[in-house]
Amino acid sequence: MSFLGYRRPDGSVGVRNHIAVISTVTCANEVASRIANQVEGAVSLTHSMGCGHYIFAPLRPLAGLGKNPNVAAILVVGLGCEVVSAKILAEEIAQSEKTVESIVIQEVGGTVKAIKQGVRIAKNMMREVSRLKRESFDLSSLTLGLECGGSDTTSGMAANPAVGKVADMVVKAGGTAILAETVELIGAEHVLARRAVNEKVAEKIVEVIRRMEERMVKSLNLPVDMIAPGNIEGGLSTLEEKSLGDSYKAGSSPIQGMLEYAEIPTRKGLFIMDEPGYDPESVTGIVAAGAQIVVFTTGRGTPLGSPVAPVIKITGNPRTYNTMKGNIDINASTIIEGKETIEGVSKRIYKKVLRVASGEKTKAEVLGHRELAIYWAWPIP
């Protein structure tokens, strides 16, 4: 099995060919957006961080988004007084050997001059990267992100098991898969730890999941040992059952490592990433770790996308598929209705992943969904 992608200087392979215009701080968001709006094929990566008490928190995720193989060239837009300066971010992204340029609003003389200069840079980048042609690559070049949001009782029965088989197929073919959302794994850590490649990874899995639990109990005062009334109504009896259903989308491959938020894996295979249960932050973290495609299961339906990676939506709920058809790429409710097996749906998802990798647009892409949010509670390195 193979797909058609764009070869990057460091050997990685993009499934898209974006110019990323990244703001280092909220104060540079508007300038970055306006530059990207003016240049066809450019995406702006804007956020609510970069200064004050979030010291360096955005560096790893923003650098990771710039390094993602779907990005062909990068323009960093800074203000000039923020903690993560344009220079620091540009140098970090330049490790990927891609073209990186930066402008600083205070240095070039304000909004109008920064936009003018930025558009000129981004325009030239686009003309350059638009000459790249797609070539054939095998699945060892692919990193698949595994995410779920708006879960319901069908998630653990249909969509997640089908996605789990897809994750297995990608890993078996030499690729990488990253499972997100630590919150959803509380109660399944012993099972995941047993699947770790070694004792060290097993310990880290338990440690990170417990750390998230502590964080939730202490800072948010959430009773995580309870499952929601809606879950119980839907038929879920225990926390273990809920978390096992969530983790099912990771398939059955050995777990190679437990990643910190936005940490790029250094090997192939299946990984778990420490992330919150908040979908835009989770998707941003997986994409910053290098996922070129995200497979997203949803019970209730969500429109969420990413500025950098295509997001494929899958639902196991027949009602959601009918009402949210415009946002859902794959209907897995055929499993619930007894019309198709988990195996059958997984094959459809797998084919979809290969087509999207070769250029087919997802519904989130067509509708322009480019949500981005950064999680900041991870330990500062």
């Binding site: 009782t153 069908t154 029965m157 098991p161 109660g187 399944a188 099972v191 417990r210 639990e213 502590e214 040992d225 119980i232 839907g234 038929g235 009896s237 225990t238 926390l239 273990e240 059952e241 096992l244 259903g245 099912y248 499993i335 619930i336 209705e337 007894g338 097996t341 988990i342 195996e343 059958g344």
Partner: protein, 93 residues
């Protein structure tokens, strides 16, 4: 039925008392048939065999809890007869 080791299966539609539930595996093959001991709603679980008190309830091939009372084949398996084994106090002071 999510895994061959499981002693419960999840219903893909509502089952009335006495209804015959056809249990299939992930690949679609029929594993067995059980008679619903009471009406069980969509998304809820049915016992595939007798589960004794304090015996483990298995779904996804993993433990999801233990039976708080004997559960007969065809019975509804839920919060009234299953409890979580997860103990959180060990990480607390």
């Amino acid at each position: 039925m999510m895994n061959p080791k499981d002693n419960v299966a999840t219903l893909l539609s509502d089952a009335e008392v006495g209804a015959v539930i056809v249990v299939t595996s992930a690949d679609g093959s029929v594993v067995k048939e059980v008679e619903a001991a009471r009406s069980i709603p969509f998304g809820h679980k049915v016992a595939l065999a007798r589960i004794g008190r304090n015996e483990l309830v298995l779904k996804y091939g993993e433990v999801i809890g233990e039976a708080t009372e004997p559960i007969e084949e065809g019975e509804h398996v839920h919060v009234h007869n299953v409890k979580s084994l997860r103990v959180r106090v060990e990480t607390k002071t």
